[in-house]
Symmetry: C2
Subunit: 393 residues, 2 copies
């Protein structure tokens, strides 16, 4: 992180820090020590419950991986932000990326984001992608596309939804009712509160990209009918758990959040936050505003939250029901990524948490439970890795 | 941390965790790796500004050190919580503790706390101590005593203030007006809001322990006249900076705070907090309540804040004006102590922060700027250490 960045204000700082992070790859340092590349491992830890774990490096050679999807045949699809989908199968990364992936605009924070299989993938072979579709050399638009996967390539790619005016990271989720939820980045300024703008919202779509009739604002004047929830900043994680949609979002200078999403509700960005703005003042209305929904979990300072998963398996027995949230950075400092583990009571109120994998000094981009009841983790590095967390002994 | 602790509720959990931490000394583990003792160092880091630092281990062999005071002759006094004052002089720890230290009740969190020199120490040789004075085998009372220091022993120790009904950690501060500020632990339940109880308050006294006539509640019916501020939970750091008193306090399950103290104000514990209670629910009134002062800095989850200092020197040039706050633990996990460095804008609003010394896996109990403009750090371990942070290269 270069000293010159520190005079830069507000939104610009976000990009300055992204730039600094990229610079840190060229000349990697963490708190003074040149960052050694991720060691081969495996790495053994005992966590707080206690749960003994072994962390294995399954593959490297992924460039800024963002998301993964488990295939029914045991393999997985992994997105790389520069605009590739990779296939990990039979314990190794296929050298050639999938054909048929759309062009993306790869920037400091933009490119190809999420990949999701249709709930009925076994029959229809549908794969969904979100990405920054280039509209010029200097602009892009958030797009959701659907293609069929034949085991080697994506075919018949079709843009099913273009989020006009929106850009930035985006997560996909299929709810059990078959609807497709799409999260949309919510900067700058108050765009996340504008009900006629898709930015800073989560959207609810049919699986073909059309708008369901039972969306909360359908027929309401002054509201985009795609909107499911309002007032989000940087919603990069979204999962279904215990009958609800859980979402992570990143604050600027503190105020990362986990929210439980309910149709039509407002989550407050940028009016309220537990964190501060980049230039220092708290957000306009401080910590709480009636009519806006408080977070269930928060981080101050920011860990720069990314993907999330609830662990529901039995193999990591002491972790059953725990929430895992990736983080790419503590405060502003490279080399301080983490995987948060959060324990809840039976009302889903936080009891305690810990930060895992901090000794690896890697940016943690996504975390998923595999069909084998093990946890899979992506490191958001130029030489990114796929890790697996297993029970030890 | 033992799984059995996790069913224990509320205040009891605090002590259960303290016990778990003690147990961790017997069988040290951090996230699965047996904790190696602190290495010899020195340890080199580059921090975020950037500032290159070298961390030296000046001495070990301190048992649960809590606070230190710099002597005009270049030595320093260091308190050990079991009830000793040690002298560090000419680069080494004197083997014999000072004579004349009062008996304390050493418990999982109690014992001897702060040591402060009188502002006119060069003339009067007064040293002040706060400690848990035993009142029976199972009880104690927070006491402030004053003694004279002859270079080898404390003499003529006199209890100048006994905080009837109060117990737990306590920090001392002399304000520039010569008044002695005393912080008082504020559990259990709503005792911190009871204006007739000294617990959960900061107090303002004359240097002989009597009550100044200009205290905010003097003459106000239903208020103890010693009270300066109200509504604190675990105020373990207190310093003077930029014309104000700055204080750190530890939340239970999130909600550690830095506050700026002003006469007569209420800081909200236990009605409001950015953190949760041990059993899970947020505090009764959530994040904010009109009439209660919001924190300037907070941590969610808790780092278990301890001592603090503003760095005002020139030797660590990039850190000038930064606030340093010790932490003994992230969440509930042993081996996760840290030293937070917080950068402010010119309105003293936070711009950013980082966690230092995390790789050492030590509990950080106190941090001070020495007369040599270097930072001194105490590790709160059974084999505790005094560290010095110097500029590197």
């Amino acid at each position: 992180v270069n000293k010159n960045n520190h005079g830069i204000k507000a939104g610009a700082l976000f990009f300055a820090l992204a730039a600094a992070t990229v610079a840190a790859h060229a000349q990697p340092q963490r708190r003074g020590i040149p960052v050694e590349p991720l060691a081969n491992g495996p790495f053994d830890y005992v966590t707080g419950e206690p749960q003994k774990i072994r962390v294995r490096v399954l593959t490297r050679g992924l460039e800024k991986p963002w998301s993964l999807a488990f295939l029914p045949d045991g393999g997985m699809l992994i997105t790389e932000r520069p605009g590739r989908v990779r296939l990990f199968r039979n314990g190794k990364l296929e050298p050639e990326p999938l054909a048929g992936v759309p062009a993306v605009r790869f920037t400091l924070i933009g490119g190809l984001y999420d990949v999701k299989l249709h709930p009925d993938f076994a029959r229809n072979r549908y794969v969904y992608l979100t990405y920054a579709k280039p509209t010029s050399e200097t602009s892009d638009v958030l797009t959701v596309a659907r293609a069929t996967f034949d085991g080697r390539a994506l075919n018949d790619l079709q843009e099913i939804f273009v989020a006009e005016g929106a850009t930035g990271q985006s997560r996909l989720l299929f709810a059990p009712d078959g609807k497709l939820h799409v999260s949309v980045f919510g900067e700058p300024r108050e765009i996340a509160q504008d009900p006629m703008d898709l930015s800073g919202k989560t959207l609810r779509l049919n699986d073909d990209g059309t708008v369901p009739n039972d969306n909360p604002f359908v027929g309401e004047k002054g509201y985009r009918p795609e909107i499911y929830t309002i007032g989000h900043r940087s919603p990069e994680g979204m999962v279904w758990h215990n009958g609800k949609i859980w979402e992570t979002e990143m604050g600027p200078n503190g105020g990362d959040e986990v929210n439980v999403l309910e149709a039509g509700k407002n989550y407050g960005w940028p009016y309220v936050s537990l964190g501060r703005s980049y230039p220092g003042p708290y957000q306009r209305n401080g910590f709480h505003l009636d009519g806006m929904t408080d977070p269930v979990v928060s981080w101050v300072p920011s860990i720069s939250t990314t993907g999330m998963t609830f662990y529901t398996g039995d193999k990591l027995a002491a972790w059953k029901g725990n929430l895992f949230v990736g983080g790419v950075r503590y405060g502003e400092i490279p080399g301080t990524g983490s995987l948060s583990r959060i324990v809840f009571n039976d009302k889903m109120e936080e009891l305690r948490r810990e930060a895992l994998l901090t000794d690896l000094h890697q940016r943690i981009r996504d975390v998923r439970e595999g069909p084998d009841e093990l946890l899979y983790v992506l490191t958001d590095e130029t030489d990114g890795a796929l890790l697996r967390i297993e029970p030890a002994e």
